[in-house]
Symmetry: D3
Subunit: 243 residues, 6 copies
């Protein structure tokens, strides 16, 4: 299967790293195609960044449809454009926050989230409520690291993430932690070893869930809410989206 | 005050009509500036249309900031880009679904929504949950009219909306109805007269709520979740958004 | 418009102060008529005080109806008698807790409440749940000041309110604070300046929301739950209420 | 024990009937004292009636305290003045809606309510949410009988209640029905026989719950929210309430 | 009435102690029959212990049915086998967690739970949600005492429970505490005296609620969800359960 | 990997059929070992059947631990014994209701459940609430077929299931249907073809989710709530469980 992994930000380094993490965890028959939008923010740290990035996500889905992708992953913890993306394809589409929450709730009764910046906590909070996991998440903790510091100053960032995870483990009454940033995809094992409880990371979780859905022969329902968009005209820069 | 009314779709006819409705209801000191994005869908009838329209909404906010707008309204019932828009300004920003829900809950204990197409119901449902009005809305009913039919075939559309409102009035155990489309802004009084119970319409509701917030000297909080976006680079078509 | 502001307690000093705050924020065409019941508690600091005060509130509504009021505000943070009041009139009726919650949720994603006494917290908690804002309020904090100390020992009281607001700002992960007492109506600007984040105060918020509803031509729905009370006999002291 | 049963409306016939129902179900050592306020509505069919009746309820509690009551019941399905009443005494105080919901949830997984008038449904709905039983109640059905018709035209009213209960039994997926009016206290057995599933009636339920609490040596907590009212002055008709 | 009190664990000492507590609180006409399963865990401190104990609970119900029990209590704070037990009888069946929550919510607006081990907190949390009391419980606190230490090292255990209750009283904003273990049945009065706020204990609470239901002539509904089990074959050790 | 599929009822025919369905969907490296308890009910159609079956489920887990199972599935739609099972192993354990809900929520915004008997609906309802999917499930529909009729009278049963699914598709406003019985595992494709919208079946869903978790190197958390059971004695028939 062709698993199209979309990094919604435009940092190629992060795309590469996420793609490698995904490839390592993928099943033998899964080919990971990691891409990023041509246009958009270099990192996503709030609602505005997210809104802009959603356009790029949908463009990548459109490309993926032309190239025959079997499933899609949106590799940013706010799941930007997830519902829009689902309208565009019969294939399954997974957000990494969504994937992380689902997996964590299958191996623990309660979990915490450790994310980068506290200002993005509200996005996770909204998603927990919309997806149904509000009662399963005990606390959203921020390590207070800008996303790109995970790239640029990895060791210091890693130390802070581990410290935050340990506090969550000791104080939150939880069984697992969800890492709240796509940029932490390759750190899961290291953090888990340092913290000693299951650490769930969304990119890897989404890869395996995507394989599961494809294996089941199930994709996004085209009956009702997530049917293909109604044909219509778009104007200006978006004229090419007219159907 | 300068009240910037953003029609998130690119139908100029609708922008004009919405602007006129807003102007009629506005206080003497309120100047309505109705605009629409240059680029985007001609109507918004699903998640994809909404995701694309959010870009245009943020661009209109940016223009509004340059022009000194005192408040903003996003005049599409899905409130596309609302959180992103709020990050961009100290002024208040209101969505028309949000405005409609707030007003309806102040004059009735329970309300129903009458919207255009059933496929957009899920968007209203998600907003009701996020805003806190899930228990106040008894039912979301669709008149099954495409948005632009409100423009093109107004009489037939109006008849169906009124019929649907009457069923809501008689069957739902409600005190008020929220009209679920920006394109119905100028029909509120007609529908209310035909149905005989309070009809809340989001554009007009948002105008008065925006005036209320400005009158209070209150705008979008810049402390915490809705602070201005962190400065960063954007690439490609969105390079102009770099800060 | 005639905006009837009902102070549910019988402290004339507070009525005057609240009325002045309301008048300052009111639009040019709005005439504030601030009254208080003839009979009732001098302050409202619990369920019993509230239950008694509700009678006076309804009597003031009845007077207002005779005098042609266009809207009503119940200026106590527990919104005593709000539903009863709504049954008595076609005009809009707003509680100040309700108004504060609505406004705060329009300018922030999450807010805290700073109230007078911790024992009244449960009243706010019940209102948050009934109105739909339970998830939007992070925490209810009490400055532990009896209501009338706001009158008698204003400076000390103000200091404690400001300190409590600052703790809320720093610890609660919020964007705004709702002041939880009608007696704080004239302190909003001072507190906001001292705390540096948006401070929402219920009396002023209710004035502008009442103007908004009247501007929309919308009042309390008389269809269903809030229809006028069924005619019936009352006995004893309340015989004059027979209809 | 002295169990003070307060009929919040001023219909002496109903007080007598409710008192008899309570006496029939009471334990040998329980003395039922059924009273009604001197002042108030002859029936309670909405928020306004309820607000006025709450004053009388608190007056009856005050009398009961002087007379040494061991527990109180508020025998109107909206539980008017319940929280206020609890502030006034160390004894347990039960509302009959509350009692009915508790008992029904102990013998079934889901129940429906059959009440008198649909306009009072919202009151039950608010109580279900506040007490925690919103998910346990499948549906609130109204037989559309004014409260006093239960007195005046008992047979016709009974027939309609039974018909409504049968529909609930057959359509709602429930195990029990809660009768939603104090005036149905003496009809429980008849209705249960006619409908064939457990019928819970609030007055009788409250009698046994009150006996249970007294038997446990437990009464209204005076720690925190329900502590005795703070001493203060009352004015006018309510001057006698000054403490 | 014959009130069958089932201690779901197989510690005879605890059965005796619980039975004595129950007898002390029971009404004169109530005969407490305290039993325990022949087979099962000596204490219940997690989901596995609970699952096994549920079999013994149902066997005790079956015996009780043969012996003519009028009501049943399941005296373990996780209410193991409660729904299964209810299917087996027309008599009322009460869990002690359930009983404790109901009683606490009738005498306070908010309560905390003080239980033995923090690992059992999740069981209480699930029950609070299922029964509807999630909003009424502020906090679940563990004294970190294994269940049988209540038997073996009573004084030290009591001291820790009292300390934990005092912290709950001072920090949680509550009016009452629910003791979260059947083994604390005889400690209620001592703890209440030491802590100074109402302490609710499940075994005693369940005795009085069971008497209340029997007094009302109400038992487990056999209409719908809790009807007797469908007849069928069981195999192996459970062959005797075939119907 | 060794994937241990536990049919909680003791019908060998169903075990075989479920095992075959699981094997067909499993990845090449997954070996399905389908077993059933030696002791227990031949079908599970209520809480009592479920409680008894949970013992057998835990015994099968214990065997699986000795045999080196990498993951477990509990193949009954009530997920009997799921939490107990999780305490016994570091491997992931999935219930088929849980698996069905998770998968359905990844491919649709709202789903309905089509189950066998309406009396088991309450079990699904409780699970939806506990797992967080209460808002995602529009309706639970029963085809009113006893579980074993799926074995004995397959064609008639299939027809009724398909009819019920079609009604769900047309009336419920959903995107997918979850089949609510392990016995329908081999009918998924047939039903999906007949109904024309995605049909999610729990056994197959659980197989792929189990593979996903094993692929992620994640299993049941042993930190906190789901740690191994505390060592203790068991008596009687369960003496062999002493640790």
């Amino acid at each position: 299967m062709r698993l199209h992994l979309i990094n919604p930000n435009t940092s190629t380094g992060m795309t590469t790293r996420i793609g490698e993490s995904a490839s390592r965890i993928a099943a033998p028959g899964t080919r990971i195609v990691a891409t990023q939008p041509e246009s958009g923010p270099v990192s996503i740290e709030g609602h505005f960044d997210e809104a802009i990035s959603a356009v790029g996500v949908t463009e990548e889905i459109a490309k993926g449809e032309r190239d025959g992708s079997d499933a899609y992953i949106i590799a940013c913890f706010g799941d930007p454009g997830l519902m829009a993306a689902r309208e565009l394809t019969r294939a399954p589409v997974l957000g990494i926050a969504e994937a992380g929450f689902h997996v964590a709730s299958l191996i623990s009764t309660r979990f915490s989230i450790v994310t980068t910046l506290s200002r993005t906590g509200i996005i996770a909070e909204h998603l927990l409520q919309a997806y149904g996991f509000a009662h399963h998440c005990r606390r959203i903790r921020a390590a207070e690291i800008p996303v790109l510091d995970l790239e640029d100053d990895g060791d210091a960032a890693l130390t802070r993430v581990i410290e935050t995870c340990r506090r969550a483990r000791d104080e939150d009454g939880i069984g697992a932690i969800v890492l709240g940033c796509g940029g932490m995809a390759d750190l899961r094992a290291t953090i888990e070893e340092a913290v000693g409880i299951p650490i769930v990371e969304g990119v890897t979780a989404a890869v395996k869930l995507a394989e599961a859905l494809v294996g089941l022969g199930l994709g996004t329902s085209k009956h009702g809410d997530l049917a293909f968009p109604r044909p219509k005209s778009f104007t200006g820069h978006f004229a090419h989206l007219s159907r």
